[in-house]
């Protein structure tokens, strides 16, 4: 039974974007979980969300919680001490450069000192736990205002202002940041009020807060006088809980001390150490023997000892991590979509999930939209599964016989094993595939997206390969960077005007119905055109010893330690 009086009171105070969401929830189009997630994205306040849930008769345990940030030690844990975190060895080529970093190891180091406008909530999604305490859009979602937290100081004692936000965003726009390219330009942020950063977007975007959150790793706010290429070790700074005290580039070891002036209060721990491991197996061994306290990431294969360890706490943050099997659609042997479809029909996705992840993964359907997202359309396209007859028929229709190709991939996680499975799966339909496993540096530079033109940044990409994509709570980056015409990571060189139109529609939609309509079309286009195949989404695994508490992780490798503590 809906309490219309209460609902109407909230509805009248809401802006058009918020009103649309409230009404969608009231008529049952958006469930409770998605209402909270979406409400957080568009900046609906916690009291308003609570009132709507109460008015709609949702139970008390559905009340959204907002962490206000700050250090909260785990129960019974002793204050003080330090932690050692096994961290992925960062890419030396980018160094600790917040603008140009590209790997999980560096994200984690950088985010100990620098913070995002929008932080991480206790449910693993975005929340007002970082530099912005609230945000709201204008009527059509083309302008977003972020109110900055009061009393935030840089480590040199100067206050954080919207000028720092504006300068950071200018740097990201100039660098054509993967998530913000085409969304903002230089000069997009109005900093006339030092306490409020007002973003005027190049086109409306209903999900914009996610793009300046922890889920767009390079969007950390750096001082106004930083420049692109300045590294954290070269110039330690930040507003975060930890101050970089020492960085050993050769061993990729970063040591931090507590920031006594952090806005969130005093951290329970005195210090933290992030230690680079070039091999996950070695990090797992160190965790098993408790030489380290926290492990940033490990895989199911090789991590069985940790998964079975009663004194080890496994963290599985929400994850859309996936592998993209791309086909170069404008050059080489995969220009005919029938051939691409044939390849996709050979994939035994269940085998991949079982063999590579022991079931800790979700089968995907050749598009990067997670089924748990509110705008996912389950009816859009049928689930593609292994069908060799279909694959052979498509090849025959395309007039292709005995296609021989090389599948390029980097030596990362389960990717070489996935390549092996694809090679075996495809052989039955008549594909003769060779697998070329390269070092990651060589792979990214030479195979995945070698320099092209502004219109076609990955023009010289190899015709067929596997690349890794980390978690994003919404698929915007997967669309705009990897699939849209001229996308900076578009190794498929896919240029489809229908797709681009639907992407614009999706971005501009500020209501869930509008997003779902566009996403449904996108699912259909990608399923039919197959510029890339998406076989699965897999769980991200992190964890820590049972004596440690208060650690949060994201599927992009962040290990949030501001509230962490360790019992004796």
């Amino acid at each position: 039974m809906i309490n219309w009086t209460l609902l109407d009171r909230v509805r009248r105070r809401a802006n058009p974007v918020e009103r649309d969401l409230i009404e969608a929830h009231a008529r049952g189009a958006v469930n409770r979980r998605d209402f909270i997630k979406r409400g957080t994205v568009i900046g609906l306040s916690v009291p308003a969300m609570t009132a709507v849930l109460a008015a709609c008769g949702d139970s008390d345990d559905s009340t959204p919680s907002t962490t206000t940030g700050g250090a909260e030690a785990g129960g019974g844990a002793a204050a003080g001490g330090s932690l050692i975190v096994a961290n992925q060895f960062g890419d030396a080529n980018s160094g600790l450069d917040p603008v140009n970093m590209l790997d999980l190891g560096t994200y984690n180091v950088i985010s100990q000192s620098f913070e995002y406008l929008v932080g991480l909530g206790s449910d693993g999604n975005i929340d007002a736990t970082a530099l912005a305490t609230s945000w709201e859009p204008n009527e059509d979602g083309s302008q977003w205002s972020f109110t900055l937290r009061e009393g935030v100081m840089w480590q040199d004692g100067t206050p954080l202002t919207s000028a720092d936000v504006a300068a950071t965003m200018d740097r990201l726009a100039a660098a054509n940041n993967a998530a913000l390219g085409g969304v903002i330009g230089e000069g997009s942020v109005d900093a006339s009020d030092p306490a409020v950063a007002v973003f005027t977007l190049l086109e409306p975007n209903g999900n914009f807060p996610v793009l300046v959150s922890i889920f767009n790793p390079q969007s950390v706010i750096t001082p106004a006088d930083y420049s692109s290429g300045t590294t954290l070790d070269e110039r330690p700074a930040g507003t975060g809980a930890w101050i970089l005290s020492d960085f050993n580039a050769a061993e990729f070891v970063a040591r931090f001390e507590r920031n006594p002036n952090w806005w969130g209060g005093e951290t329970p721990l005195d210090a933290i150490e992030l230690r680079g491991f070039s091999d996950i197996g070695t990090a797992v061994t160190a965790m098993q023997s408790r030489q380290i306290d926290v492990i940033q990431n490990f895989s199911v294969i090789g991590g069985e000892g940790l998964l079975d360890d009663a004194n080890f706490t496994v963290l599985t943050p929400p994850s859309s991590n996936h592998r993209q099997v791309w086909f170069h659609v404008s050059n080489g042997q995969f220009t005919d979509k029938l051939v691409r479809q044939a390849m996709a029909w050979t994939f035994d996705r269940q085998q991949m999930v079982d063999v590579l992840f022991s079931g800790r993964a979700e089968i995907a359907n050749d598009h990067p939209v997670l089924s748990s997202l509110p705008f996912f359309d389950a009816e859009a396209v049928p689930q593609r599964s292994r069908d060799i007859d279909q694959a052979r028929a498509l090849l025959a229709e395309a007039g292709v016989e005995g296609l021989s190709a090389t599948l390029q991939c980097g030596d990362l996680g389960e990717v070489p094993d996935l390549a092996g499975i694809i090679q075996q799966n495809a052989a039955e339909a008549g594909f003769d595939l060779q697998v070329n496993v390269q070092s990651n540096s060589t792979f990214y530079g030479d195979s995945w997206c070698p320099g092209g033109t502004d219109e076609q940044p990955c023009a010289d990409a190899d015709e067929f390969g596997i690349v890794d994509y980390g978690h994003r709570p919404i698929p915007d980056v997967f669309f705009s960077s990897a699939l849209a015409s001229g996308g900076v990571w578009n190794s498929s060189n896919f240029a489809n005007s229908d797709f681009d139109t639907q992407l614009t529609n999706y971005r501009a939609a500020i209501d869930v119905d509008g997003q779902k309509t566009a996403i449904s079309e996108i699912q259909k286009i990608l399923w039919d055109e197959v510029p890339a195949s998406y076989p699965y989404f897999f769980n991200f695994l992190a964890g820590h010893d049972a004596s440690v508490s208060g650690v949060q992780a994201t599927s992009l490798g962040h290990v949030v330690l501001s509230g962490a503590s360790k019992s004796a």
């Binding site: 050692i84 580039a249 070039s278 940044p457």
Partner: protein, 318 residues
Amino acid sequence: MLKFIGRRLALSLVTLVILILIIFLLTRVFPSEPARQLAGPFAPQERVDELNQALGLDDPLPTQFGRLLGDVITFSFGESFSQPGEQVADLVRPALWNSAKLVVFALVLTVPLSILGGVVAARRKDTLADRAIVNLGLASASIPEFVSAVILQYVIGVRLGWLPPVWLPGEGAGFFTQLRFLLLPALSIVLVYFGYIARITRAGTITALDSDYTRTAYMKGLNTRSVVRRHVLKNSLQSTVAVTGTQVGYLFGGLVALEIVFNYPGLGNLILRAATAPDFPLLQAAVITVAIIFMLSTLAADLLIAWMNPRARLNVRA
């Protein structure tokens, strides 16, 4: 003897220059463009051209080689390509020191143990003890060091918890703490080299025990211990010294897998990272460092052999 040392040194220097030339040419065979790597995949070609010029990669090969020789003499090597702002020498030096610690510790354990094993096996030739030493040594030597490393790491480090399985001694760790952390990697090396060196020692000792000078020593009335110490070992260990000398260079730069298993920051790890980056100055510096160590250890072994056996000096002179 001085003349002998001079000749060997001169020969070593010539070998070193040839080695540097080979390393220089090999690093130029890499298909990647270092300037493109440094500038990033999306950088404009002008930026790449600027970097090529700034790094001297546009210069003729002889000019670049001459510059490299100068770098070797001063041990400067300039700035790392993959870690801008870091001097190559500052990256190589700690890795070299770490490798030296591991290699010296491993040799301190391996060499006396292997010599003892070899001598015992030779003196008890064709007995159960001889067969046990030879066959166990052969078995352990046939397992690659990184495989025995993983087994030791899991059994001794993780399951039994007797020794730390991963190199994490902490900042400013003391001598004995470091030794404790080094024990498992060093034991992995011992397992491989014990069988190898013990068998060579055994063969040399058997030959020496059968020789005329040993019989003469016994006939002079010396006891077995004196005969072995004064006459047998000095002759039988020449092959052992030669083999150990040549293995030192490998141990410094070739333990890539072992160093990865233990997360040990040695030269092997550094070379691998430099090769995959790719970082030419770092790669050249690290490989040349290993080559110099190889040359020095071989030279030291030759000198030791010459001291043990004057005929070796005569052979060179002849």
